[in-house]
Subunit: 110 residues, 2 copies
């Protein structure tokens, strides 16, 4: 690991590895990211794509991504209410990590 932040003796929040782990942490998070990687999605579209995911958890995931500046929410005018959830430019930077997760998972599978 290049610099001092990669030589911690504890899981410190400032360590780049911890930052990346925090970004993808939590059940369903990578699946939500996969959906958003394909383009903006409404809350309902996300629920339809991931039927077993409860509204509560989806809400939490989207809020966590927004808090970290990885995704954002736009409320569209009119009725019925429509929202658009999309990745930010920063969120897009998670793509290579997801690809690497997939690749590694394949490599270590029995």
């Amino acid at each position: 690991m290049p610099d001092a932040r990669g030589r911690t003796r504890r899981p410190e929040p400032g360590c780049p590895v911890e930052i990346a782990l925090a970004a993808i942490s939590g059940r369903w998070t990578t699946l939500v990211l996969r959906e958003l990687m394909a383009g903006p999605r409404s809350f309902g579209e996300l629920r339809a794509a991931l039927p077993s995911l409860s509204a509560k958890v989806l809400s939490e995931r989207l809020a966590a991504l927004a808090d970290r500046g990885l995704a954002e929410r736009t409320v569209l005018p009119g009725f019925p209410p429509r929202t658009s959830h999309r990745l930010t430019a920063r969120g897009e930077r998670l793509r290579p990590l997801l690809v690497e997760l997939y690749r590694t998972g394949t490599a270590i599978a029995l």
Copy 2:
């Protein structure tokens, strides 16, 4: 995502992404992996390198890695008891993922 296992609508254990996530899941796991990446380590050496990590959790992490065939334990003869924990060839395949976690963490840091 290439094949059908990357298009699940749920977090299925057979999905490569889930396999990779399971391998590095749990607090301290990436730090333990970092230590083992540098070469075989005894239980005590790992505790010395990560002083705030309790024996219980270290035990659990090493057991989980062993269960997945990513690390292995060798008990050396003699007294006092000495053990050697090392990565398997399969465990070595996690290295690019850790590098990518570091890189991504740097990229998305504020």
